[in-house]
């Protein structure tokens, strides 16, 4: 039974359940803010507040500057480009990680494919963060001058969320097997920001230790965003290579996890 069912079949099922996934995602966001007057608008407040703080504190009040090696001088301007995608990554991944366990009741009572739940969590997260990330395009006009490199931006955004889905589904299966997985993920995400070019430009890291940054799956996309938005340049090949490598590794692991858990997954929830 479990031998002929893998990730590919799961993706086909997901494709067929597209409308359902969409409804679930909308409901997921709505349920988070049910009963509040602000409703879904509350979802946009934390990221917007962070962006506003970085800008006001670093650029307006203190006027801090990065060294020559940085792609841009202003600290706030630099931080926002990396921090927004990183926050999106954390949000999507941590929501996807608990998505299966949270949907346990629903899955045990209804004949639904489990794969739609991590997909809906990632989709719900994208609905909040993707518009914010695309809103950076007009805001960063003085730096990228509408360069053609902006065409890389949608590709980066889509790839980032695909990676989120694959990693999120993987962690969700592990969380179903052992709840500790979600906590470990939280720990990894709070440390991960230091293993990335979000806070400091790559050039400021000691050269012998720079490879460590690539352990973080988001290093590639963040470098990509920085080069497109801050310099108006196409992302270097390393960015795409890192993304594809991570995608391949995560998909392989997911394939194994899906095969081994498929039949009993709902029992674990």
């Amino acid at each position: 039974m479990s031998n002929d069912y893998g990730l590919l079949q799961d993706l086909k099922v997901l494709w067929r359940s597209g409308a359902l996934t969409f409804v679930l995602a909308r409901r997921d966001v709505a349920a988070r803010y049910a009963g509040s007057a602000g409703g879904v608008l509350w979802a946009y407040v934390p990221p917007l507040l962070t962006v506003a703080c970085y800008f006001l504190v670093f650029d307006v009040v203190f006027g801090m500057r990065l060294g020559d090696k940085a792609p841009v001088e202003r600290v706030g301007t630099y931080l926002i480009v990396g921090m927004l995608p990183w926050m999106a990554f954390c949000d999507a991944l941590s929501r996807a990680a608990t998505s299966l366990v949270d949907a346990g009741g629903l899955l045990q009572k209804n004949a639904l494919p489990p794969v739609v739940f991590p997909a809906r969590s990632v989709l719900a997260s994208a609905a909040v963060f993707a518009p914010l990330m695309l809103a950076l395009v007009p805001a960063y006009l003085p730096w990228h001058h509408f360069s053609t490199a902006l065409l890389a931006l949608p590709a980066l955004v889509v790839l980032q969320w695909l990676l989120c889905f694959v990693l999120g589904y993987l962690v969700a299966i592990f969380t179903a097997a052992m709840r500790d997985a979600a906590h470990l993920l939280g720990l990894a995400l709070s440390l991960g920001v230091f293993l990335s070019p979000v806070l400091f430009p790559v050039a400021l890291f000691p050269e012998t230790w720079r490879w460590v940054l690539w352990i973080n799956p988001m290093t590639g996309p963040i470098l990509g965003y920085q080069s497109v938005l801050l310099k108006g340049e196409w992302p270097p090949a390393a960015v795409w290579m890192a993304l594809l490598l991570w995608m391949g590794v995560a998909a392989t692991l997911l394939e194994v996890a899906v095969r081994r858990s498929r039949e009993q997954l709902v029992d674990w929830l």
Binding site: M1, A19, L20, V23, L24, R27, A30, A31, A34, G35, G105, L106, L107, Q108, K109, N110, A111, L112, I173, F174, A177, M178, R179, D180, A181, V256, A257, R260, S261, R262, E263, Q264, V266, D267, W268
Partner: protein, 406 residues
């Protein structure tokens, strides 16, 4: 089993087994996931179950707790996957497993209706068409605009039932769902399921109520320890199952009878409540002793009931050996008679078994109150009255059958 050849196959279960893997800890589960090696004890909830259901057939699933009934229903509903074997279902499958499980308390009844509709495969445009009918059936009215957290549990169940049965399925799977809501709504539910059945919907029905299985199902499946113990026409399967249960319980019987009769004497309720209930059950001609001796030749049972609905209810009586087998059961709806109306919702029937043909022994009477068609059990007073019969006889037996020698 080949009786339904020619009928359209709706469900085909082919050697289906379900294994639950029991891990000592979550750590073992993780180890199994990472290494792919077994770290579990196996529990086979179902082993090699095979049967087919044609269009319009109704199968009752019976068995003790832990026999695998729920696992079978979940497999058929598609929430669980079989470990071995194949399961083929044709057409729309609706499962009434747990009503109202997916509702979010902060959303209104209508929002929940549309969301839950998506989950069970009714997209929004179709839901807009079905909505008036669902609202009418659930009798929620204005309450539909209120958050579900303000609903009573009965209202939640009504909305959920109205939703899942809004579209007639090809296969309906019911897990003990006949006991939903108040009596009035229960009756509506049973009527709707009965209408589905008459329209050719295939039904798989799992219940501890053998009475309902008898009423609704033309075939029955008896599961015991995950294997099919019997499969065939309802009467023969239930007879075998009842015999098995009786043998199993014979040892505990005495204790259970004591408890049951104690409970029965406590459960005499005032008739002021609005739900249908049995008011009194009495036997004529009882004498002294414990249990009392039946002194008259006839057995006369007076039953008075209360039923707030206008239509006359049906009254049933079952006669059993105190320590053994059932002897007979009768009901007004089955015999085509109506109880006498006493006004104000009260009804009375008097049942007479003339020249009661029983041998010496202890017997027990149970009383039942049904709706007019005998589909909904409003109340039952199980093993309510025990009495003794003394008939000097030289030969042993249970019933003195009419006979002649020639």
């Amino acid at each position: 089993m080949s009786a339904q050849s020619g009928k359209l196959q709706v469900l085909q279960v082919d050697g289906v087994s379900k294994e639950y893997r029991l891990y000592a800890s979550a750590r073992d589960r993780l180890k199994a996931l990472v290494t792919g090696k077994p770290y579990h004890r196996s529990h086979w909830a179902l082993r090699d179950v095979t049967f087919k259901l044609g269009r319009g057939e109704c199968l009752g699933v019976v068995g003790n707790n832990g026999a695998g009934k729920s696992s079978l229903l979940k497999l058929l509903a598609g929430t669980l996957l079989p470990t071995q074997g194949k399961l083929e279902r044709a057409g729309r499958v609706t499962a009434i497993l747990e009503l109202g499980a997916g509702f979010h308390p902060d959303f209104t009844g209508r929002e929940n209706l549309y969301f839950a509709g998506n989950i069970i495969g009714i997209p929004a445009p179709e839901m807009r068409r079905l909505e008036p009918e669902i609202v009418a059936f659930s009798e929620l009215g204005e309450a539909l605009e209120r958050p579900v957290k303000t609903y009573s549990s009965g209202m939640v169940v009504r909305l959920a039932f109205a939703l899942v049965t809004a579209v007639q399925p090809d296969l309906l799977i019911i897990d003990e769902a006949l006991a939903v809501g108040d009596q009035h709504f229960q009756k509506k539910c049973v009527d709707r399921i009965d209408a589905f059945r008459r329209n050719g919907c295939t039904i798989l029905f799992c219940s501890h109520s053998l009475y309902h299985v008898r009423q609704l199902c033309d075939r029955a499946l008896w599961l015991d320890g995950g294997v099919v113990k019997a499969l065939g026409d309802t009467e023969s399967v239930l007879a075998a199952y009842e015999k098995h249960v009786r043998m199993q319980e014979q040892t505990k019987e005495a204790a259970i009878v004591a408890v049951a009769s104690a409970m029965a004497s406590n459960s005499v309720q005032p008739d002021s409540r609005s739900a249908a209930c049995i008011v009194s059950v009495a036997l004529d001609g009882l004498g002294l002793g414990e249990p009392p001796l039946l002194e008259s030749e006839d057995l006369v049972v007076h039953i008075e009931v209360f039923s707030p609905q206008g239509a006359p209810p049906s009254i049933g009586v079952m006669l059993e050996q105190a320590q053994g087998v059932g002897i007979d059961s009768v009901a007004t709806h089955a015999d085509g008679v109506l109880p006498k109306s006493l006004g104000a919702g009260r009804w009375r029937s008097t049942l007479t078994f003339s020249r009661l043909p029983l041998h010496t022994g202890e017997y027990v009477v149970s009383a039942y109150l049904f709706d007019g068609q005998g589909l909904v059990v409003f109340e039952e007073w199980r093993r309510y009255l025990t009495f003794r019969v003394m008939r000097p006889s030289l030969t042993p037996g249970l019933v003195r059958l009419e006979h002649n020698w020639s």
